[in-house]
């Protein structure tokens, strides 16, 4: 017990540092994937056959292969295959590579949710806007968008909660996120070695954070309840 109480603050400090990296990756992914997903959704809704087919192809590749492999390819491909290690070797480079892989991966998933959301808004809404003399973009931003957001909050919430946990995959390229920090205490870190409990302890971080995310998303869902 004494040992545990002695180790706890050291472990918590180290895990906090790791979790900060987790949070950074989580936030950057959302910031990038939300708008990129919309662009991809417009691509797959495009009336130009070549554009929608190309977009469909990309989505198929990204959704059809493991995110972990995508991470490895994004991180190692430039250096090992192209002999141009653009990411450098440091934590900064690993973070950028992980961000890129996560943004592309999540944007593809979001785009399919967006597409479903846009298509589920009745066509009569757009026609009502047209006969009132609105432009297509005015209709999208003033009529369709909020109705689409209302419809996609539940499925997007699912993806966001998955993303919180998926960030741990970045460990495969040695990004120093919270699980990496927990595992370090097995090999030896901050004067502690052979300790397995810090690794299990990281689960608490995910659980608490997902609790907060769930509450916030439920609040957003309720906020959009004012119309049908």
């Amino acid at each position: 017990m004494d040992i545990f109480l002695h180790q706890l603050p050291i472990v918590v400090n180290a895990l906090n540092v790791g979790f900060l990296q987790t949070l950074k990756l989580f936030s950057v992914t959302l910031l990038g994937a939300f708008p990129l997903g919309l662009i991809i959704a417009f691509g797959s809704l495009s009336k130009i056959k070549a554009v929608s087919m190309f977009t469909g192809f990309i989505i198929w590749i990204i959704r059809g292969t493991p995110l972990m492999i995508q991470l490895l390819i994004v991180y190692y491909f430039p250096g090992l295959v192209l002999h141009n290690p653009i990411w450098g070797g440091g934590e900064q480079g690993r973070f950028l590579a992980a961000s890129l892989a996560f943004i592309i991966n999540y944007a593809c998933y979001f785009s399919e949710i967006y597409r479903g959301g846009i298509q589920s808004v009745p066509v009569g809404q757009q026609e009502a806007g047209l006969v009132l003399g609105m432009t297509k973009s005015q209709i999208f931003f003033n009529v369709t968008l909020l109705q689409m957001i209302k419809r996609i909050v539940p499925p997007i919430s699912n993806e966001i909660i998955t993303l919180v946990k998926d960030t741990s995959l970045a460990r495969i390229i040695a990004l120093q996120e919270v699980i990496w920090a927990g595992q370090a205490f097995m090999k030896g870190s901050h004067g502690i070695s052979g300790a397995i409990w810090p690794l299990f302890f990281t689960a608490l971080y995910y659980l608490v954070f997902n609790g907060i995310v769930t509450v916030l998303l439920a609040r957003l869902e309720r906020k959009l309840d004012y119309f049908r």
């Binding site: 809404q125 026609e127 806007g129 047209l130 006969v131 119309f227």
Partner: protein, 257 residues
């Protein structure tokens, strides 16, 4: 000079010819009722007038301006369509109010967006608002302006949709079966508003299955069948003394009810 002159409109969807050579004209202040069975092309005709469908042939003139002439490509430009569309208003069968806006904001949205584009919103804001409030008084919903569509009955929603169309000052207001989604009780309140508009000498085209209403309110009736105008004339002619066999059949079925 007629306010609306439609000549030889043709429209096909794939192999199906929905409109075959439709021609008619309408004087300012007149009300035209279009009747006919489902699938006779009534709705498609209204959608062509409102540029929701592009006809394959024919022309549409409003106030002697050629809005569309399929033989003249310069009238088919996408960039012009938006302005031309505003000659017409359209009230849909399914209302199509915007659910996220209050009734008042539904009515004010289109003029607001237009004014924002011209950077005149600040100066016209009060005027648009006052006009919207007046329209709500006309449709008898002054106490419902701050309600959202889902808080209104179907009849109330349709009346708001009429106000929303009117605020854009269309030359010709079109109704696409405005009461088909309503029960008989709610139908009455919508028809009352349309009747009031006809008394104010608004030019209107009404596609409807309400035969009695069509006869009472219209100056002119068109009976459509299989994509053609089968018969047209004044209501007492078409309803009272139809010449075509098909019209007689159609009206007989309604009289039985």
């Amino acid at each position: 000079m007629p306010i609306l002159d439609v000549k030889n409109i043709r429209k096909r969807f794939g192999r199906l010819e929905v409109l075959k050579d439709i021609s008619f004209s309408l004087e300012k202040g007149e009300v035209l009722s279009i009747i006919g069975s489902s699938g006779s092309g009534k709705t498609t005709l209204l959608r062509c007038l409102n540029f929701l469908e592009r006809p394959d042939g024919g022309s549409i003139r409003v106030n002697d301006e050629v809005l569309l002439d399929c033989a003249d490509p310069s009238t088919l430009k996408e960039s012009q369509i938006r302005r031309k569309r505003l000659h017409f208003g359209l009230v849909f069968q399914s209302f199509n109010l915007f659910p996220q806006y209050t009734a008042l904001d539904n009515v004010m949205l289109a003029p607001k967006l237009l004014a924002h584009e011209n950077h005149t919103w600040d100066s016209v804001k009060q005027k648009v608002h006052d006009e919207a409030v007046e329209l709500f008084a006309n449709i008898g919903l002054s106490d419902r302006m701050s309600n959202y569509p889902h808080q209104l009955s179907g009849g109330q929603q349709q009346r708001v949709a009429i106000a929303r169309a009117l605020i854009m000052h269309p030359d010709i207001l079109c109704f696409d079966e405005p009461t088909s989604a309503l029960d008989p009780e709610l139908t009455g309140e919508v028809l009352k508003v349309i009747r009031k508009l006809s008394e104010q000498k608004r030019t209107m085209i009404i596609v409807t299955h309400e035969m009695e209403f069509a006869r009472d309110v219209a100056d002119k009736v068109i009976f459509m069948d299989g994509g053609r105008i089968c018969e047209q004339g004044e209501p007492h002619e078409v309803f009272g003394n139809p010449k075509e066999e098909r019209t007689k059949q159609f009206l007989a079925r309604y009289n039985q009810k």
